[in-house]
């Protein structure tokens, strides 16, 4: 198809070009070994009929083709093709905490295969993220409402495919929920020395194994919500398939002011600052940490050693001591230590107690050496502060749910809705999207034709210059 047919008037240049070529009658240049004979040939005037005869040449042909191509380019030739138009599609994926990623990814595979060639974007929700369609959701996020993402996708004028565990107001709804047998801990409240736990059983009443602190019990859990009391501060449903609501942990914690005395030690200050609830104060702290000086209890004293000092070769930890929990013996690289007598040992150097506790007084009887550069230093002070806090009465549920690939660490899902995994599975069906609209695609060929014109013109010029 020609978009600018008026440019075809340019073709009248062809007869002019032909007439011009006749008029020019430029002699063709021929190199011969010798012109001796030719010079002796009389220089005849060409017969008139030869002037009138068209003298077609390759150069003239190339010039005519170049003019045709040039005019063609100006006329804007376009190629029209009927092709399925790309559909504008938004895939909204609910990657909330209840999502079954394997099921979602299988659906995304099907959607990607069906929408190849379409204009597809993907919205991940509830933490709204927009991007190209990915075949693999990789991270389950907090619970939220995908409605905002669906509204946003519709605002872009797209057909919205929603992939989630429960119906939403989208054009195509793909559900990955399933008949649920999940049992979840949906509430966990400390009451003096016991805990009140609320459970949600989305299946039939059944007996389940429950790990309470370090021992296992078997509980019969009714369908729907139920509650009971337990003594353990850590509760786990180890055999339940949906792990995110299977664990509840309560810990005691309270704000604690720590007073630093004596020599300033930057790593010591940092090790205390990072502890939950800890605040460093100038005076009147509930716990004193002193370097090189005596301090009133409760305190941690990092003292110049009293008594005969020695350079230790090996360190070991007192078995099961709560203040040594999580630390590693090889990190306790103290220097110039002396034996502590009359203290509950925490750390031994060459078999002698060098870090110990007596009442509210904890003593590190030597120089810190390279200990502050190891994680065990912070862990030790975490144990010290936790030990101090555990004396308080305030229980706080700090976290629920194990670290698992499907969930963000520390996600707090003590919520009944989080445990409900939806009840319906509705796979993506290709026909649900509707057929693509057939539209005309115009491909502008002007550039190609113009390039051909330039090449032909160059060819004509080269041939003419060679024959000149």
């Amino acid at each position: 198809m020609i978009a600018a047919p008026i440019a075809l008037w340019g073709l009248v240049a062809i007869p002019l070009l032909v007439l011009l070529s006749f008029w020019r009658m430029k002699p063709a240049r021929v190199t011969v070994p010798s012109v001796a004979l030719w010079k002796r040939l009389p220089a005849n005037i060409p017969p008139v009929r030869s002037l009138r005869k068209p003298t077609w040449s390759i150069v003239l042909l190339l010039q005519i083709l170049a003019v045709v191509a040039g005019v063609g380019a100006l006329a804007k030739p376009v190629r029209l093709e009927s092709r399925p138009q790309p559909r504008r599609i938004a895939v909204v994926v609910d990657l909330g905490a209840r999502a079954f990623l394997d099921r979602i990814n299988a659906e995304l595979d099907r959607i990607a295969a069906e929408t190849a060639g379409d204009d597809v974007v993907m919205f991940e929700t509830p933490v709204l993220k927009r991007g190209p369609l990915s075949r693999a959701g990789s991270k389950v996020d907090y619970i939220g409402d995908p409605a905002a993402a669906i509204a946003l996708a519709k605002g872009e004028g797209r057909t919205v495919i929603f992939v989630g565990d429960r119906p939403a107001a989208a054009d195509v709804v793909v559900l990955t929920g399933a008949p649920s047998q999940n049992i979840g801990i949906v509430d966990f409240v400390p009451e003096k020395d016991r805990f009140w736990v609320k459970l949600l059983n989305l299946g039939a009443a059944r007996a389940v194994k429950v790990r309470v602190d370090d021992h296992e019990e078997t509980w019969t859990i009714d369908a729907g919500e139920s509650s009971r009391r337990t003594a353990g501060s850590r509760l786990e449903l180890p055999d339940d398939g949906f792990a995110l609501d299977n664990v509840a942990v309560a810990t005691k914690t309270m704000p604690i002011d720590v007073e630093l005395r004596g020599d300033e030690h930057a790593l010591l200050r940092w090790a205390i600052q990072v502890q939950p609830g800890a605040r460093i104060v100038d005076r009147g702290g509930a716990l004193v940490v002193s370097v090189g000086k005596e301090a009133p209890e409760p305190c941690v004293v990092i003292a110049p050693p009293r008594g005969a000092t020695f350079k230790p070769a090996t360190f070991s930890l007192a078995d099961g001591h709560p203040l040594a929990r999580g630390t590693r013996a090889e990190h306790w690289q103290l220097e110039d230590v002396a034996e502590l007598a009359g203290y509950d040992p925490i750390v031994f150097a060459d078999g002698k107690c060098v870090v110990g506790r007596r009442g509210g007084r904890i003593v590190i009887n030597g120089g810190l050496g390279s200990l502050p550069h190891h994680p065990s230093f912070s862990i030790f002070f975490a144990n010290v502060l936790e030990s101090h806090q555990s004396a308080s009465q305030g229980w706080v549920v700090r976290r629920t749910g194990p670290s698992q690939p499907r969930a963000t660490d520390g996600a707090c899902v003590l919520d009944g809705s989080a445990s409900s995994l939806g009840t319906e599975s509705r796979p993506f069906r290709t026909e649900s999207l509707g057929a693509a609209r057939i539209g005309e695609v115009r491909t502008d060929l002007s550039a190609w034709v113009a390039a051909a014109a330039v090449i032909l013109m160059l060819g004509a010029w080269l041939m003419e210059s060679r024959s000149a």
């Binding site: 009658m25 430029k26 002699p27 063709a28 240049r29 021929v30 190199t31 011969v32 070994p33 010798s34 012109v35 001796a36 004979l37 030719w38 010079k39 002796r40 040939l41 009389p42 220089a43 005849n44 005037i45 060409p46 017969p47 030869s50 003298t55």
Partner: protein, 267 residues
């Protein structure tokens, strides 16, 4: 690139240069070369022609027959061929390639009998065998040194050229021996393809001539070419010089066997 294949080289071995006149030789060789006078070996009689040495007339035969015959003798001598190949710009392309192959073939024929070939380039070089072929293949361009050819004593010379330049004066000076001129023309020189208005440029002088070329003009061109060749032949005949014309697209074997053997250049 080899100039010839093995079969062709074997066929060349059966050919020899014909020395019809007294020409310069190399040394005592293994073939008979006709030389007048001082015969070492009787060869034949031939009728006396004006200019023959009267001392060679066989008078007893005259007494018996009443006609004058000259005794010709022959002795074994190797020939020295002076080979001149025109490599000037007018010969460029197929003509020069043809001239080189033809010259090489004639040179091999001459060298095959123990003779020598003096290849005339910037300086004359005496060559034979593979060295001759290499020298011909790699010979530089340039006009033939015909002026210097006269320095050779009674040369047995073959000049291969298109002879567009009038070199007759130089050739006359060198025609004391046995001279063969082989004119090589391209097919486009024999039958020019140009038609219409043509600007003809000389490949050597760059001289330009504008001509309209139609049927009449082509006829006139061919007539001029015939006249030119007739002029060469007449000049050659007067001086007992052999003149052969061939086209550059003709087979070398045809030129050797038909043209050159027909003219007695080789036998």
């Amino acid at each position: 690139m080899a100039l010839f294949d093995e079969d062709f080289l074997k066929r060349l071995e059966a050919l020899r240069l014909a020395a019809r006149r007294r020409v310069g030789t190399v040394r005592e060789g293994d073939r008979l070369t006709t030389k007048r006078g001082g015969a070492a070996l009787f060869h034949s009689y031939r009728p006396y022609v004006q200019g023959d040495d009267v001392r060679l007339i066989d008078w007893p035969l005259y007494a018996r027959l009443g006609q004058l015959f000259v005794k010709e003798s022959a002795r074994e001598e190797a020939l020295r061929l002076h080979l001149v190949i025109d490599a000037s710009p007018s010969m460029r392309g197929a003509k020069l390639e043809f001239a080189k192959r033809l010259g090489a073939a004639i040179g091999l024929i001459a060298a095959g009998d123990g003779g020598e070939v003096v290849l005339w380039g910037e300086a004359p070089r005496t060559l034979s065998g593979d060295a001759l072929l290499r020298a011909i293949e790699t010979m530089p361009g340039g006009p033939p040194p015909l002026k210097r050819l006269k320095t050779a004593t009674r040369p047995l010379a073959v000049v291969i050229s298109d002879f567009w330049d009038d070199v007759r004066a130089d050739l006359a000076a060198a025609s004391g021996g046995q001279l063969s001129l082989i004119r090589v023309l391209g097919r486009d020189e024999i039958d020019p393809p140009a038609r219409g208005m043509v600007r003809l440029a000389d490949s050597e002088t760059r001289e330009v001539v504008d001509r309209f070329v139609g049927d009449e003009e082509l006829k006139a061109y061919r007539r001029l070419l015939e006249e030119d060749e007739r002029g060469w032949r007449e000049w050659a005949h007067q001086r007992e010089v052999t003149f052969v014309r061939c086209a550059a697209d003709e087979p070398i074997e045809k030129v050797l066997m038909l043209y050159l053997r027909g003219e007695g250049v080789i036998e």
